[in-house]
Structure formats: C-alpha cells, structure tokens
C-alpha cells in the first residue's frame, strides 16, 4: 500500500494514500475545526461539499489556503494549521457566516447544542466586522419538524441525508448566490411534501435551522391537570442514549433512572414500549407465519416477503414512493400505536376512566412518531391513542427543567401491567432487532421446539443491507435487513423487479435503527456513539430473564383477558392498520 509522508505543524506524519489532511491531522491529535464536513464511519455516509471553508489550512507552496476536509495529503506536504493567515481567514469566514445568521442564540432551540455556536466560541469571535443584509425566510412548521431557514448555513448535511442516505428527495439546494438555501421544492411546507419525518436532517443540522416540534409545554400542562390520568411509555432506544444528555458515557444504560425520572416528573403510570414491542411480535410473527404457510401451500394471492411496519417514517416513505406495494408490509401497527390502543381500551377499562381523561405520552428516539400519532386512523372519535410524543432530547430538557439530578437518581422498575417486557422487546431499538425478536418467536411457534441459542449474530451489525438464512427446522427462512431508507429502496426495487427471494425483511428508516433516530441526543458526526448504544441494547437483552416475546406473562394475560388470540378480530381492530396511496 502506498504511504505518504508529510508534516503537519512541523510534526512528521505517515498516512495511507488517499487520506485527507483533516484525517492525517486528527491521527496525530491536531483537531482542525470543521463545520460542514460530516463523516459517519462504517455507514458510508459522508458530507464533504468543501463549502464552509472553516477547515482551511496553509499548504507550503500553494497560492491559496486549502480546505483540510477535501484536500488529499501528498508526499512532502508541509502544512500549517494555525498560522496567522489561517486563523485570520478562519475567523473572517466565521464572521461572514455569523453576519448572515440571526442573533437569537439565547432563545434558540439549539442553544448549548449548536455546532455553530461552539465554533464561534472556539474561534473566539467577539465582534462581527462585516454586517449587512440577512436572509429571511418563512418559518415552516410541520407535525414533527420545524424549519427555521434563516439559520441555514448551507452546510448541505441535511441535503445529503435526505437525498443520498434516505433517498427521500424532499430537500435540495435552491436558488444561487446569497439567495441559495436548502428547501423543499417550490419552498412548500414540509407537510405538503413527501417528507417522511425521519428526522435525519434534524439529527445532523449543525445549527437551529432544523429542529423538532417542541411538545414539552403540552406535557407539563397535562401533568398539572388533576382531571387527567397521564401515562407514559418509553421506547427501547431511549434508555441507551438519554444518559448522554447528562454527561454520561455513550452506551450507558439508564433504564432504572429513566423510570425514576418519569415518576418524579409526575406521570401516573410509567410503562414500557417494549411491552408493546412484544405484542407487535405476537401479531406480526403470527402474520408472517400465516402468510408463509399459505405461500408454501402454493396460494398465489399471498405476497412475500413480509415487511416490518414499526417505523412511521418507513411507512410514509412507501406510501409516497411505492404505493403499489402497500399490501406487502405487515398490517401490524407500530409498538407506539399498539401501546396507545391498549392503554386507552384495556388499561383505561381497568382504571375505569374514559379515554378522554387519559393522556398517553410517548418518549421516543424519533421525530416521525410525533406525526404518526396524529394520523387519523389512530384516533377514536377524534381522540388519539397517543396524545403527545417527546423525543429523547425533549425528555432530557424536561428533566433538567424539573430540577431533577438525573445522575444521582436510584434505579426503579416500570409499573404493571404495561411495563413488563422481554429482551426481544428491548432490541427493537436497533437495526436487526425487530427481525431477531420475530425469529425467536416465529421459530418456536412454527417448529414447536425450543431455540438452542437466542443470539442471532448473523442478523446483527451496522452494514446498511444485511441478509441471512435461518433454518426453521429444515425450512430455510431468508431474511433481509435494511436501515436507512436508501438501503430500503434498493430492497424494494428488487421486490418490484421480482428479484427478491426474501421471506421477511426488516426496515428501519434511520441509520443504525432507532438508536440513531432523529430525536436522539446529537451524535455530532461521531458514529461510534451509535455502536455503543447498540451494544447497550444487546446487553440489556442478555440480562433479561425472559427474552422471547411469546413468553411475556403480561402479554399472555392480555390475550387471555382481552384480545383472545393474535390476529383475532379484536386484535385486528386495535392492533392492525391499513396504508394509503399518498402520491
């Protein structure tokens, strides 16, 4: 392999050919500041327009300063990353960016978590010498995402996520020159577009230009209303990431503290979406086996593969982009919506209250869930099954607002009956987890045998598209997994072309699955954080005494007392849904 010798700030460095100056510098502990650049290792995600010009460095012998993020290291290069000329240029460029940025840092949703603010601080900007016209745009509020484009700095990260990673294609750079900005077509509102609300644009935005709709206020109001019974569910991926918001190491499991915090916030019942995940497995697993059985019997009307349907962004994606395939995904609702439906029927009955007096709040790693709960089919007489959704980040803000010292909280357990879950429910939060949970149950139901081993390593990992064949006692079941909608599109196109040989496919919209959701603590481009969160979920699974959904005693009780059996009429009514052509 070709190696390159160069000097950065007088330190000799040896790197592989093709390494950028930025990477070479970071290898020897020189942290060149960047703003637009973003690289998520192992996921093939890179945004490198070379546009912000913050990372410029001086390369000996070159006329102009070079952007470190996209200049390859060459043999014999001598680089200065902090000469007078470099620092002056960097600060001037920063002043230029700030000169076209609103000065409302103090009240910005991103304050304290803003890469632009951090960079201004890092570069020691104390005045903005160049002032003039600022771009102004209409604010765009959708059910899930707010675009405050005045704050856009044209880093193009959202555009990369929306087009190259997710292939949704809502956002594009428009206009040119000073008027250029990232926007949907015709500057229409997001809720008129094909946006899936996956929130990956929000996850990578370095400023406050893209944020989630803040519903903490509504939650506080509900909690302080004595007439309301407020119950909360919390998604699996939240427990693996919330700690980061309180300065804890990425991947720290905070399940117990999370429960304790929710209780201190005043929720009447603290439940677990994992319970609903187990319920999902019962319904979806049964549906899979039904379809598979008919398919094997030669029923031509049965469509395979079956696709998971837990992810609301994914659902909206195929409704817009592949409406002709809307019969293929499982009709099972997502765990959030199953939870809401059960809470406002089964559990409300138990409490003997009307559904209108119950407020169901979800804590989700996701911004699309805010949209999902507002869909009409998840309402009864206008009353939604799930009333309010907070992202992991919003929950953290609420905890801080309520003077709760999160780190010192004791570990507490979820309430019953909707708080009991299995390891299978926990791993719903990562790519590969839903299908692994389904396999655990489907296998045992189909073969009527105990699984010798519960860890399916062949289904785990971070690759965008994975496939595996699981032996169902002589029946090979071919499974596909995709995370990131761009990868999902590839599998869908194969199905469309009749080239797909899978029996079941799991799809999650966000890279990494829900652990990388648009509502999670900002990873600021550090992909290793996602891996740590993933590890945490597998650890929690391993530590659970029950690790198969169909063994969850409260699930069994729910069927016994209320639903009958999976895919029963009642289950169908409460736990399944239909999809719409949105073109």
């Amino acid at each position: 392999m070709d190696t390159i010798n160069l000097k950065i700030d007088n330190k000799p460095v040896v790197v592989k050919k093709g390494t950028t100056i930025l990477e070479a510098a970071s290898g020897i502990g020189i942290d060149i500041p960047t703003l637009c650049h973003m690289k998520l290792d192992d996921m093939n995600i890179e945004n490198k327009p070379g546009g912000c010009r913050i990372c410029v460095v001086e390369v000996n012998g070159r006329r102009n300063l070079a952007p470190a993020c996209c200049t390859e290291a060459n043999d014999g290069m001598e680089i200065n990353t902090h000469s007078m000329r470099v620092i002056n240029a960097r600060r001037t460029v920063m002043e230029l960016i700030l000169s076209d940025h609103p000065f409302d840092c103090l009240i910005c949703a991103k304050s304290g978590n803003c890469e632009l603010q951090d960079m201004a601080h890092k570069l020691g900007i104390r005045e903005i010498r160049y002032q003039g016209e600022q771009s102004t745009y209409r604010e765009d509020t959708s059910p899930a995402i707010i675009r405050d484009v005045d704050k856009c700095i044209m880093c193009r990260r959202c555009e990369t996520m929306c087009n190259e990673v997710q292939t949704v294609g809502v956002l594009s750079a428009i206009n040119r020159g000073f008027q250029s900005v990232v926007s949907p077509a015709f500057e229409m509102n997001l809720d008129h577009s094909v946006c899936t609300y996956c929130g990956q644009c929000v996850a990578v935005c370095p400023t406050g230009a893209l944020t989630e709709v803040d519903e903490t206020g509504k939650v506080v109001r509900a909690l302080s209303d004595p007439a309301k019974t407020v119950i909360v569910q919390t998604a699996p991926a939240v427990r693996a990431a919330l700690g980061e918001e309180f300065g804890m190491e990425a991947g720290t499991l905070v399940t117990g503290k999370l429960v304790a915090a929710l209780r201190r916030l005043g929720f009447d019942h603290v439940f677990d979406t994992d319970f609903a995940a187990d319920l999902t497995i019962m319904e979806e697993g049964t549906e899979l086996l039904n379809r598979l059985g008919k398919f094997l019997e030669g029923d031509k009307d049965v469509k395979l593969p079956i696709l998971t349907s837990c992810c609301p962004a994914w659902v909206k994606f195929f409704e817009h982009q592949f409406p002709e395939m809307k019969d293929i995904p499982s009709s099972a609702r997502s765990p959030q919506q199953m939870f809401g439906a059960i809470a406002k029927t089964y559990f409300a009955d138990k409490l003997e209250i009307k559904r209108e007096d119950m407020v169901v709040v979800s804590i989700m790693p996701c911004v699309a869930k805010k949209y999902e709960c507002s869909r009409d089919e998840f309402k009864t007489n206008g009353n939604p099954d799930v009333d309010l959704v907070l992202t992991t980040r919003e929950l953290a803000a609420l905890i801080k607002l309520s003077n709760i010292d999160f780190k010192t909280l004791p570990s507490e357990d979820f309430d019953h009956p909707l708080g009991e879950s299995t390891g299978a429910g926990v791993i719903f939060g990562t790519t590969g987890g839903v299908i692994e949970a389904a396999v655990r149950t489907a296998y045992e139901i189909h073969t009527k045998k105990k699984l010798p081993k519960l860890d399916f390593d062949e289904l785990r990992g971070m690759e965008g598209i994975r496939e595996a064949t699981i032996d169902f006692n002589g029946l090979p079941i071919r499974i596909g997994i995709a995370h990131g909608l761009g990868n999902a599109r590839k599998l869908l196109e194969d199905i469309q072309a009749g080239k797909s040989e899978f029996h079941a496919i799991e799809i999650m919209s966000c890279p990494g699955g829900c652990i990388g959701g648009g509502g999670q603590p900002y990873h600021h481009g550090n992909a290793s954080i996602l891996k740590k969160r993933q590890m945490a979920l597998y650890t929690e699974d391993k530590n659970k005494t029950i690790r198969k959904s169909h063994e969850n005693p409260y699930i069994l009780k729910l069927y016994d007392e209320f639903l009958g059996k999976p895919m029963s009429e009642k289950a169908h009514h409460l736990l399944h849904t239909a999809y719409f052509d949105r073109t």
Binding site: G169, L171, S172, A173, N175, P184, A185, T583
Partner: protein
C-alpha cells in the same frame, strides 16, 4: 402535494420530450430547455411531471430550475424585453435604459405588465457589443438605445405595429 392540473395534451407533450431524452435524469437540463421552449415557462406543475417522468425528486428539479437564470417559472410577457447588462452596454448607459423601461412599464425586472404584454429581464451580453447598449424584444435586437428611445419602442409594440422602428 398540489395535484397536477395541467391539460392532458400538455402532459403528453412533456412526456414526449422526456422520452426523446430517454427519460434520463442526466438530461434534465435539455428537457427543461425544450419544455420551456414549447410552453414559455416552467410552472410548478410542469416540474412535477418532469420529475415523475425522469424518476427524480421534484426538489432537485426545482433546485436546477432556480439555479439557472435561463429558466423561469413566471410566464413572460407577449413581448419580452431584455436589456443587456454586459460591461460594454453598462458603460454605454444600459442602466439608464433599464430604469426607463421600468419607469414606463411600472414593473420590476422579472415581472410582467398587468395586461401581459411586456416583461422585463436583464441579459448578460448578447455579444452585440458594437451596438451597445442593446435591448432585445423577442427575437428583435435594438442597438444604440437611448433612454429617450424607450417610449417609442414600447408605444409601437403596444399599438401592435412593429414595422417602422429604428433597429440600429
């Protein structure tokens, strides 16, 4: 999404043009040129059809349309007036000529008059620098235009008589 409300034959026209370019995404600019050539402008609904035919996102189409000054989403006037703002024309007074057109027609650059007769645009050098300052109305080129000629040019088009105009 706004439902596409174009006439059936317009949609067919766009489809034909896309087919001519093999429905390739990389031919977008050629498609836009041709469609604008036929329809005069590229309204949102047209861009939606093009995006659908080329199997690309309408945001990308819009991104391209708004990048290139040649493409317009606003219908042009019956007599589109373009004032060359190349350097040669600028130093020979194109700015005053443009100002006079704006004053006379009471519209800004890029707009059309209420009766739809005229629209004003700026051009970057038509290459007739020897005739600077240059104004084009449709296909016709007017050279050495002085602000005092503006009224005359407009009047003759307005009256529908384009015969006796000094052209250079």
């Amino acid at each position: 999404m706004p439902k596409i409300k174009l006439a059936e034959n317009t949609i067919e026209l766009i489809q034909e043009i896309c087919v001519e370019f093999e429905n390739k995404e990389s031919e977008l600019i050629n498609v836009l040129h041709k469609v604008q050539g036929k329809l005069g402008y590229l309204p949102a609904e047209v861009q939606e059809v093009i995006a659908r035919e080329l199997k690309m996102s309408v945001a990308k189409v819009y991104g391209v349309v708004t990048f290139y000054s040649f493409f317009t989403m606003i219908p042009q006037g019956e007599f589109p007036i373009s004032v060359c703002m190349g350097t040669a024309c600028y130093v020979r007074g194109a700015e005053q000529v443009l100002a006079e057109f704006k004053r006379q027609l009471k519209v800004e650059v890029g707009e059309s008059t209420e009766d739809g007769k005229f629209s004003i645009n700026c051009l970057r050098c038509v290459g007739a620098c020897g005739l600077a300052p240059v104004v084009t109305v449709g296909e016709k080129v007017f050279g050495r235009v002085a602000p005092s000629d503006v009224k005359k040019i407009i009047a003759e088009y307005r009256e529908g008589c384009t015969e006796n105009i000094k052209t250079a």
